[in-house]
Structures are given as C-alpha cells and as structure tokens.
C-alpha cells in the first residue's frame, strides 16, 4: 500500500479503522483554527503496511495524492503539546501550511519507534528526528523539481506545498512531485535545515488541537474507550506486600449476576458485563492471603537506606586536586532526604486489551507505546509483531504511573476470559500500587573560604540501582500470575546533577546504588533531579550563610556559563533582590517573610532554569505560604512558547505540591496513603502567583521543557524559609510539624 491511502480528509469512520489518533487543522478567517479529528482506537481493520524503520524518511512522513502531508510520530502527547509542536516543526521544515498536516502518534503498527516519551526529549530528540526527515524530504522534492524543470536546484524554493523558482512564477506542487509515492530515503543528517530567521510557524504560540475536545468532553480517553463485547474488570490486591493468595471464596460474589472471578496464582480479579457490578464484586469478594514480606518502619527509612547491604559504590564525578583543605575555610556537612512519592494521577489507570490466541491489541495511555511491545510479547508469549499497542489519552502520568500495569492486567484478563477487557484501577490501587518515585538520601560535605571560594565539595547519594538492559519495570500482573518478565529496578536517570554548577576547587560525587527499594520504583517527572538540586542548592545556601555572604552573589561569583548567569540575573531582577546574607532581619517575627533562589543547568547539558520564591512562615503553626514564584527559563530554541509556558507552570506547581505535602505513607504491611486525604495535593488556595520569563534562543538547538523547572523548586523554597526564619529544612515534605520542629531547633535532619 502507499501512504496515499491515508488521506487527511478521510472520514472519522475510516480513521477509526486505521486506529490512530489523527489531528487536523483548518484555516479559518485568516486565523489558524485547530480542529481535532480524534480517531482513536479500534484495530478491527488491519493496519496498512507501513515503513517503520526510524532511519527512513517514509517512517515519519508522506506526501499524499492530494498534496497534503501525513506525519507519524512515535512519541505521544500527554498534554505537553507535541500534537501541535511536532506538526509545527514538520510543516515549517517542509514548506507547507499547518492545515495540510495530518498527525498520527503512538501506534506500534503505524509509527516509528522513537523511544519512550520521557526525559523531556519529546522535542529535543523526537522532534529533531522529524525535522531531519522533513529536511531530507524537502531536499529531495527540490531535486526532483529541478530535474523536471531543467533548472539548478539552488534556484528553487519549497514553500506553500510546492517547489517554485526563487525568482517567482509557478512551480510544481508536492503532489505532482511525489504524491502517493515513497521517498525511499534515509534521514540525511546533512540535509540543510531552514534558517530560523525565516520561520513562520516555529516559535509561535499556536493552540493545541486537542484542547477544544478536552473542554467539551468529546475527547476519547482510554477510560472512555470501548470495543464491542468488552467486559469490565477490577483488580483485587493483596492486603500486604508480597502476600500470596491461599484461597478464594467464589460464593461470596454468587449473588452478583454474571460475575466471573479470574484467579491465576496470586493474580486475582473480577470481570462483569458492566462496570458497577465489577466494582461491587471487587468489594464483596472474600479471599485469604498469606502474611506479606514486610516493610521497614516509615521513620527508619533514611537509616535503612544508608545501612542497606550490598550497595555498589560508583564515583560519578571527580574533579580537581586531591589537596587537603586550606586553612581558614569553614567546613560543613548536611544530610537531605526526599521521600517516596506517587505519580498521583487524577484518573486512576485504565486500559483495554483484546488478546486473541495469535495476536494482541492493547489500548493504553502509557508513555512507552513502543517500548512496551517487547514486554507484552514476552509475557503473552506472542511474536513482537503480533502485539500492537495503541496510545490513547489518559490522566497525566509524569513518568510511569499505573498505566502499564493496568494494560498488563487487561491483557492477562482478556486472554483468560476470551473477550476484550477494560480494567479500571481504583483510587486505592493507584496511590497504593503505582510504582513510586524512589526515596533519595543525600549527604553533602563542603568547605568555603572567607572570599566565598568553594574549596571542597563531596556528595554521597543512596539511591536504588537501575538494572542494565531492563526494558521497562517489572509489572504487577506478570509477577502475580507467574508469567515471564525481566526482573530489576528502574527509576530513570536519578543520579544526575549531584555536583554544583559552580567553580569549585575539588568535587566528588559518589552514588551508593542500592540493590532493593522498599516499594517498586519508577521514573517520576524529572527523575531524581528535584532531590539532587534540593540538596545541592540548599547546601550552597548553607555555605553562603556560613561565610556570611549573600546567596545570590555567591552563585553569580561561582557561575561560569553565561546562559546560567543570565537566568539567575533575570530572577534576581524579577524579585528586586536585596543583597544581604540569610537569614533576614525579620526572622523572629510571628510571621517571617523571606526570599530564596535556586538554579539548575539541567543534566549539565540541557535547559537553564532559575527559580526565586517569596514566602511567609507562621511560627505558631509552622505553615508555609508561598506568595510568589519567579522563574527564568532558557530551553534554547522555543518551538511553541505557550506550550513551554504551560509546561513550566505545571512543573513548578506539581513540584511545589511534592515539596510541601507529598510523602507515601506505609505501615509494615502496605501503603496506607491511598486516598486524597492521606496523600494530599496542592489545591487552588495554595497556588502562588507565578511570574515566568522564557528566554528564547532561536539559533540554538531546542532543549526539553517538561522537567527542568521541577528541579530548583525544593531548594528555592527551603532557602526562602531559612531566609524568613533561620530554620533549615532538609527533609521533604515541609509539613507544618517539620517546620515547627526546625523552628524549635530540633533536628530538621533525617535520622540516619
């Protein structure tokens, strides 16, 4: 088949057969009006044969017979705006209107594997592959036109969906040049890309095409998706971690019509024709379990991490002389702790699976549509190409919430009952059983001299190891049902940014990789960096206070990267920063007011972000009120400024929630913070004023914008609280009890 069979103006029905999410744009009244053709799901019809090799141009784009263009992207839109940003890049580079682009994402049968949508690489990597594909395609289009017209290629230009003489006059439309045919070209890294000075689409705050559907209830989330004959299921979890199923009393649900109990080793679920019956059956079902494997006492966790046997030590960074510290320098040591946290998605995970004897189709909101193909093929014992995963929107997952697990639950159940099955997790399932952002324990020791020169710095971190070659994390369903999967741990790149981005005589960063983690870990937005930056940037302020220096001045004195200096100076200006050491003069007032700042050069090679905060701390209650957050953000070339701004707002507020109130609570059996009162989130009344300045660098490469602004939030807040009160917070979350304890001079340091 040729790609022209997927025409952009096809009916919704036809798209439904194709089984992908397609977004179209129309131009109305001179303004770009996005319209969303949301054709999601249903792989009833066979997927058309597609080139899927990520090295091939045809994997990413095709010129259709009518001159429109279809773009295929293996990365998915989780609400971060790739559905407009990627078409912006493709349309710009090709030289065609955005309204002529049809966009298809995240379907293993249709889109190239561009890796998980993770690490804030959607644009920086996924988008840049598509830019290169479009640049290669444009070069080919110009060359074909040059040959047909008998003129040198340099005299031609691609714009408005045609290749024309630069001097003017009509040219040849893209459809005439290649419509409906393959390019048969590899991505050419040397194909010239357009000069940013000529951009007409990239850099514009164009609206996201899925927003109207999300505001009117017409978008099909995975939670809303149904196929004919689909049954509804609820999972039954053990009462204690590691408990095994001894017996199930099926008679306990006999009174509920049509309920089927599925019991495979420790995997237990109920399936019914309608959802409410499944809910009632899950509540009614009686089962007997063994005792669990046990969890450490919550308040012992930092000590447990430090004492974990078999940790592997790895020196991550070592710079500078081995010289002893010079006399006169002040030395400090501090311990910081970041607790386990949940992804805490507003919608509990959900998935639909249709598993047949020889093939499987799974509709999932996972960020790893492609990445999960191997995992699912393995435990279903099917060839990889017989397992199709199709992305549908879900509640935001910020790394890896329960989406993958729910999909595996659905797949196991669909095979067991021989029908398509929809699994909807409960709130308790989601907060109790989603894989957690891991706990991080960080020790820092350092020395500063009277002139503010950092003489020595050593960071030690205790964090769960990442198992080499682990494709995903182990999922609950294969584990419980005894199906094949690779064991191991993965929390993402949690060891980055353990070293200060400032001039330092000597730096060492040592990771103590732990073999186990009390609860199953997974990447959680900006993996590890919020904790590492919290420790590093808090410690910098502790050094500044020890030396009696203004914390802003100490940063500016130590920074070398001009883009780093620019964001820090920008925030200082936004906050009308008064130079003085912390804590400030009002530290003993009933309500102390203060300001703090923190900075990150994300992963030492990506975005530069500085965040400043103004806070008020009530001494009697220990309550922190964040009054204002100022943020300067430089992620290189900005594709869509409104999209970047939304990501920065979200990063700041989500991390503020994590720092102020979030900690997974557990007893010795299981997670106990399984509703919104025991695992509270930031609400409207807690939301501060946000001032964000985006620094655009159109001639630099675009860098990720979905994570970096998370990282400095914790330290900016801790530094502001110290400035306001003189109390140093080293344990997240900053609950009123912890603040009061720190104000009372009690150890604000985790017990280790």
């Amino acid at each position: 088949m040729t790609t022209s069979q997927i025409a952009p103006n096809v009916s919704r029905r036809a798209l439904l057969k194709g089984g992908a999410l397609t977004v179209g744009f129309v131009l109305g009244g001179g303004r770009l009006e996005p319209i969303a053709v949301l054709a999601q799901g249903a792989a009833q019809a066979a997927a058309p044969a597609r080139v899927l090799d990520p090295k091939e141009v045809d994997a990413y784009l095709a010129v259709n017979g009518d001159g429109t263009v279809t773009v295929w992207c293996g990365k998915v839109d989780l609400g971060q705006g790739l559905r407009v940003a990627i078409p912006q890049i493709a349309a710009e580079e090709l030289g065609i209107g955005l309204d002529k682009i049809t966009y298809i994402e995240g379907d293993t049968a249709l889109t190239p594997d561009q890796g998980r949508t993770a690490g804030s690489y959607g644009i920086a990597r996924g988008g840049m592959q598509i830019r290169q594909a479009a640049a290669t395609a444009r070069k080919a289009l110009v060359e074909i036109a040059a040959q047909r017209l008998g003129v040198p290629a340099e005299t031609l230009v691609a714009e408005g969906g045609a290749v024309r003489p630069k001097a003017g006059g009509t040219g040849l439309g893209f459809a005439e040049l290649i419509g409906g045919k393959r390019f048969d070209l590899k991505l050419d890294p040397k194909a010239p890309v357009r000069d940013p000075a000529t951009y007409t689409l990239v850099g514009k705050p164009l609206p996201r095409p899925d927003v109207p559907a999300k505001c009117t209830g017409t978008l099909t989330y995975v939670h809303d998706f149904a196929v004919p004959g689909m049954l509804h299921a609820r999972m039954i979890r053990p009462p204690a971690l590691g408990a095994h199923l001894v017996a199930v009393d099926e008679a306990s649900v006999a009174g509920l019509a049509g309920v089927r109990v599925v019991h495979i080793k420790d995997f237990l679920a109920v399936v019914a024709a309608d959802e409410w019956t499944a809910v009632k059956a899950a509540r009614a079902l009686k089962a007997q379990w063994t005792e669990g494997s046990g969890l450490p006492a919550q308040d012992q966790l930092p000590a447990v991490l430090k004492a974990s046997p078999g940790a592997t030590e790895q020196v991550l960074v070592t710079k500078g002389a081995e010289a002893p510290r010079p006399d006169g320098a002040k030395t400090l040591q501090a311990t910081y702790f970041w607790p386990m946290q949940s992804h805490a998605s507003i919608g509990p995970s959900c998935a639909v699976a249709d598993v047949k004897p020889d093939s499987a189709t799974v509709w999932t909101a996972s960020q790893g549509t492609h990445g999960n193909q191997d995992t699912f093929a393995r435990f279903l014992k099917l060839p990889k190409d017989k397992v199709r995963l199709i992305y549908l929107d879900g509640a935001g997952c910020y790394g890896m919430n329960g989406h993958e697990d729910a999909a595996a639950d659905a797949a196991v159940l669909s095979r067991a009952v021989g029908a398509p099955v929809r699994v909807q997790w409960s709130r308790e399932d989601e907060l109790g059983w989603d894989p957690k952002g891991p706990a991080q324990l960080i020790d820092i020791a350092g020395a500063i001299d009277a002139a503010g020169k950092i003489r020595d710095w050593r960071t030690d971190m205790w964090i769960p190891e990442n198992t080499r070659g682990l494709p995903s994390i182990p999922l609950l369903a294969p584990e419980a049902a005894g199906l094949d999967q690779m064991p191991g741990l993965n929390s993402g790149q949690i060891a980055q940014n353990g070293d200060p981005p400032y001039r330092t005589d000597r730096v060492q960063v040592v990771a103590h990789w732990l073999k186990t983690s009390p609860l199953r870990p997974a990447p959680l937005r900006s993996p590890g960096k919020p904790a590492n930056c919290f420790a590093v940037e808090s410690f910098l302020d502790e050094l500044a206070a020890a030396a009696g220096l203004d914390p802003l001045a100490l940063r500016l004195q130590g920074l070398t990267n001009p883009r780093g200096i620019a964001v820090v100076e920008q925030v200082a200006q936004m906050m009308s920063w008064q130079a003085r050491p912390s804590p400030g003069p009002g530290r003993d007032a009933p309500v102390g007011r203060g300001r703090g700042i923190a900075y990150i050069h994300y992963k030492h090679e990506e975005a530069h972000v500085a965040i400043g905060m103004d806070v008020a701390v009530e001494r009697s209650s220990g309550a922190i009120k964040v009054e204002r957050v100022a943020c300067a953000h430089d992620c290189g070339q900005i594709i869509n400024p409104d999209g970047v701004r939304a990501q920065v707002e979200g990063s700041i507020l989500q991390t503020l929630s994590r720092v102020l109130m979030e900690e997974v609570r557990f007893d010795q059996k299981r997670v106990t913070s399984t509703d919104w009162s025991s695992y509270p989130l930031l609400t409207f009344s807690d939301v501060p004023k946000l001032d964000i300045v985006l620094i655009d660098r159109p001639t630099d490469p675009p860098l990720g914008a979905g994570e970096a602004a998370c990282a400095p939030v914790g330290a900016a807040l801790a530094n502001a609280v110290f400035d306001a009160t003189g109390a140093r917070l080293r344990t997240v979350p900053f609950t009123p009890e912890r603040v009061k304890a720190a104000l009372g001079g009690q150890a604000a340091t985790p017990r280790t």
Partner: protein
C-alpha cells in the same frame, strides 16, 4: 429493572438500574456521557462533578435513586465544540487543559459558581474550586479562564 426519571442535559431521560445505590457517575458513563470522569469515587477530587439542580456535586457520591426527579447537567450539556458555553470558550482560549482529565469537573464547578456569583473575585474562584484537584498544575490558567468567562479581564498571575 427499576426505572428512574431524571432531567439530563435538558431532556427527560429514564435510567434503568438494578441497584438503586449505583452512583450516578456509572449511570451517566453507561449512557455514553463520558465527559464526567472517575477520579476517586470518594468525593475528594471533583473530576466527576456534575450540576444537580444547578449545584456542583460529585456524581460518584450521588446515587441514581437520590437523583430521581432532579435536573442533571454534565459538561456535554453545557456546550459543544461548535457552540461552546462561555466557560468552555474561555478554557479553550486560555489553553487550560494539559492532560485534561480534571477539566470537565473544573468547568462544571465554575459553572455552578457563576450561577450564584456572576462576577466572582479571584478569591471566590479559588474557594469554589478548592475541591477540584489538578495534578498537571493548570490552576493559574483555570482562574484566568473563569475571570475571562465572567467578563472580567483580571490577571490570574502572569504565568501564561
């Protein structure tokens, strides 16, 4: 099967439910009205909010039997892509949703607020929406959109 008469998005509807305790949420979604979302089932998040006789209520906590004879409005009943409610139009203009899972409940809560208080202050909006959780951090835009929908050009922070 027992039948319950309700007014749903302006039309009279009969809901059949074998269980009078079935939450309204499941009944609505079973009718294909999937804008209303399941978030917790505990009345703690607002994702399932609908208007019951003009007041915002979590549909996960109201049973079908309790809502018999009442007038229910879901997000679908407020407006459509072609003819959006002023709040929907304002949410679209402010590009509020990220994942959008909380958006339906937010718009419904805001609609209840504007019925009572056509020109709410920023503090009124925050108070009215305090029971609506958002994990993506769209709060600043939500407040701005509600101000705009009520014909006030207030700036809800400058973030965005």
């Amino acid at each position: 099967m027992p039948r319950y008469e309700i007014r749903l998005n302006g039309t009279s509807r009969t809901i059949e439910s074998a269980d009078p305790d079935q939450p309204l949420l499941y009944a609505l979604r079973g009718l294909g009205l999937t804008a209303t979302k399941f978030g917790c089932g505990l009345g703690q998040c607002g994702a399932c909010n609908v208007l019951v006789d003009g007041k915002a209520m979590p549909s996960c906590r109201a049973t079908v039997a309790e809502t018999a004879g009442k007038s229910i409005t879901t997000l679908e009943g407020l407006g459509t892509p072609a003819a959006p409610h002023p709040l929907q139009a304002a949410f679209i203009a402010a590009q509020v949703p990220q994942c959008g899972y909380c958006t339906s409940g937010m718009i419904v809560s805001a609609a209840a607020l504007l019925r009572e208080t056509p020109k709410p202050s920023e503090a009124d909006i925050r108070a009215a929406l305090d029971g609506n959780l958002c994990r993506c951090g769209t709060h600043v835009r939500v407040v701005r959109a509600v101000l705009a929908a009520s014909g006030q050009t207030g700036q809800a922070g400058q973030g965005g």
